[in-house]
């Protein structure tokens, strides 16, 4: 057993961080969300580097790398608050690849892989509409709800811009045309999307921790850097535990998705619970460590907190995962 990244995987992680550093910052994220600027530069680079097809099989025009590599890209983009259609497109590819039939794979995967006809992820709402990020410009929308997933061509839908809690993404409410159900193992496919989403949340939490630690080192009150006070330093230590625990859980779930499908439901639930709770705790704690400055519009704290809330709830409630874990031990509302 070896539980750390290979050199190739480190190269993926470093490359995506470098790309974000050079092509993205929080000003770009704000502009993208507000619709005053776009992410085409970043998107072109992601396409050019082949990241869009990173986990798509070579047969369908992708690089055929694994879920671990995919999560490394998601984490890097999350750390940089890069909105970009990357996640939705990757989720669409994961869903079609894991739960679609041959015809659906042939029709959609090559476009997702090349980024020329990208996909977006939408979640069905009680009223029959769907909520989706970065849906404008997508060729296809992948819709999910518990136990069901379907693909629909974008031109069969109408989109209405909606204000999202996450102001670094573009949220739309979608009126859906005729949707084509995925007939494969939808739960297993959605678990893979949860893993990618959890990876993004690890990046968000890690960034929030880095900001808090930097502030604690430099901000002085009562004649000392505030990091010497345990109310601050112990809060940062707890952030570290949350971030590293979530990272361990996501890496394990990603590896499990490719190597031990039977264990994926448990691994995916562990990853989602650890990452969503970790991101919430870390982003809120980071804002607290920053004090007043962290509550200003100009500071990035609230961007991270907003991302943590929105991504943490994107696919529903954490209790669903706790119930799935407890059910393995014969406990819960539906226990015999």
């Amino acid at each position: 057993m070896r539980f750390d990244l290979t050199d190739d995987q480190r190269a993926v992680r470093d490359a995506i961080d470098e790309l974000c550093r050079s092509r993205w910052d929080s000003a770009a994220a704000r502009g993208y969300g507000a619709g005053t600027s776009d992410d085409s530069a970043l998107w072109r680079e992601l396409v050019a580097a082949g990241w869009t097809g990173i986990a798509v099989s070579e047969e369908h025009g992708g690089q055929g790398l694994g879920t671990v590599e995919l999560t490394l890209v998601c984490e890097g983009l999350g750390r940089a608050l890069a909105p970009s259609a990357f996640f939705g497109n990757a989720a669409a590819a994961v869903l079609v690849a894991a739960a679609g039939d041959d015809e659906q794979r042939r029709r959609w995967l090559p476009g997702f892989a090349s980024g020329e006809a990208r996909g977006a992820l939408g979640t069905w709402q009680p009223d029959g509409t769907a909520l989706a990020y970065d849906a404008e410009g997508a060729a296809a929308l992948l819709l999910v709800e518990p136990g069901r997933a379907a693909v629909v061509a974008a031109d069969a839908c109408t989109f209405e811009k909606t204000d999202g809690v996450d102001i670094t993404r573009r949220l739309t409410r979608v009126t859906i045309g005729a949707a084509d159900d995925l007939r494969g193992d939808v739960d297993a496919a959605v678990d893979r999307v949860e893993v990618a989403l959890s990876a993004e949340l690890v990046g968000v939490a890690n960034r929030a921790m880095d900001l808090a630690v930097e502030h604690a080192r430099t901000r002085e009150q009562f004649g000392r850097p505030i990091g010497v006070y345990q109310a601050v330093s112990h809060r940062c230590a707890d952030m570290l535990i949350d971030v590293e625990s979530a990272r361990s859980a996501v890496l394990c779930a990603a590896w499990t998705a490719d190597n031990d499908a039977g264990s994926l439901p448990f691994a995916a639930s562990v990853a989602k619970v650890a990452a969503s709770q970790g991101a919430w705790r870390t982003t809120t704690a980071s804002l607290q460590v920053h004090g007043g400055i962290g509550f200003t519009w100009e500071h990035d704290c609230h961007l991270l907190l907003r991302r943590a809330v929105a991504s943490g709830h994107l696919l529903g409630r954490g209790d669903w995962h706790l119930d799935r874990v407890a059910a393995r031990r014969g406990l819960g509302a539906n226990a015999s």
Partner: protein, 377 residues
């Protein structure tokens, strides 16, 4: 011990309730400016009816009622969904400080317009580099023949753009951190004062920055002795906290009723995790309300608020933040859509543990001043 209202308190409350039905100002406008105008008119209405400065002494233009009646008044306003008067800073902090620490001249000059709302007050304590640590203030006041000249910057001041007077804490020389601050009443309507709105994480602009560039404060606007600013400021902050508690707890209970309604609307009323989390918040809020009334009885006995007020501040912030978190879990997958009520209050609540003294500072106060634990030196 008697938790029932006295006949006098009952009479006061019933008369007030009747009056509120007849004089309710209606729905508060959403826009900040509209809301402020609405609350200015509302304060005038309250003032004309003798409901401004409930617990202020009659000789200072108040109603001369008890602190308990003041608390009943605060609760009834919340219960009637009526807004707080616009000059809340003046009523809760400025006035009480001037009554307790000010000169007769200051009382006759400043108190009446606070009550009527003709003059809005704001509070200039925090600075970019002095949030928790007032000793780190850098705003300077230098004495000349024309009085005091002020240079520096303040942040997180509500109402500053509309305020006539600012409770200003500034350095006036000396190294003793408890003797080098002075408490001024600074005229905001002068060339040396510039106000810029501060946009916060919610997207709103409740607060402002104030820049003082050679602003002038006459000698007669010093509250307490020169160098006593620290003591006066602490008193002010304790009045601020004593104001909280009971009424804010009622406001949270109303919010919890709305959240319970949201849970039922969404057909989640049988989810015992959600219902027990809500139940735990109802319990916590009730203990906060009761702590508030117990604290108030202590204030009535001792005359001034004590450091126990920090308990309510910590509880208030913690409960509001947990309400916001629960609301997100109730909304589930819809939590990613901006909601004027719930996502907004989830975000706004994050500042509750920072504004008016962080929860960390409140815990320091409880540890050092109530439990007499040693201080880090």
């Amino acid at each position: 011990m008697d938790l029932s209202l006295t006949p006098a308190e009952v009479a006061f409350r019933d008369e007030l309730r009747e009056w509120l039905v007849a004089n309710h100002p209606g729905v508060e406008p959403a826009s900040p400016e509209g809301s402020l105008e609405h609350r200015l008119r509302w304060q005038r209405t309250l003032f004309d009816a003798g409901y401004s400065g409930i617990s202020w002494p009659r000789e200072h233009g108040g109603r001369g009622a008890t602190l308990m009646e003041q608390a009943i008044f605060n609760e009834e306003l919340v219960r009637a969904r009526a807004p707080s008067p616009a000059n809340i800073i003046g009523l809760v902090m400025g006035g009480p400080v001037i009554i307790n620490e000010g000169t007769d001249a200051q009382r006759s000059r400043f108190l009446a317009p606070i009550l009527s709302g003709d003059e809005i007050w704001c509070q200039g304590f925090s600075e970019p580099n002095a949030g928790s640590d007032l000793a780190a203030l850098t705003t300077q006041a230098v004495r000349g023949d024309g009085g005091w000249t002020v240079n520096g910057q303040k942040v997180w001041t509500s109402y500053a753009h509309r305020a006539k007077w600012c409770m200003l804490l500034a350095k006036t020389g000396g190294d003793d951190r408890h003797r080098n601050l002075t408490f001024f009443i600074c005229d905001m309507k002068q060339p040396g004062v510039e106000v810029r709105p501060l946009r916060q994480a919610t997207g709103d602009s409740e607060f402002n920055e104030i820049f003082f560039n050679g602003a002038v404060v006459p000698d007669e606007n010093v509250v307490g002795a020169v160098g006593d600013g620290w003591k006066v400021a602490i008193t002010t902050l304790m009045f601020e906290r004593a104001g909280l508690s009971a009424a804010s707890a009622l406001a949270i209970q109303i919010k919890l009723d709305e959240l319970a309604e949201l849970i039922r609307e969404r057909g989640e009323q049988h989810d015992v995790t959600l219902s027990r989390r809500l139940g735990a918040l109802v319990v916590a809020t009730e203990t906060m309300r009761l702590n508030g009334y117990r604290g108030l009885s202590r204030v009535i006995e001792h005359g001034v608020p004590g450091p126990e007020g920090s308990m309510a501040k910590i509880q208030w912030a913690d409960i509001n933040q947990r309400v916001g978190e629960l609301a997100m879990d109730v909304l589930g997958a819809e939590a990613l859509v901006t909601d004027p009520v719930w996502t907004h209050s989830m975000l706004r609540a994050r500042a509750n543990s920072i504004e008016g003294g962080t929860s960390e500072i409140q815990r320091n106060i409880l540890a050092e001043r109530v439990l007499n634990l040693p201080r880090m030196r």
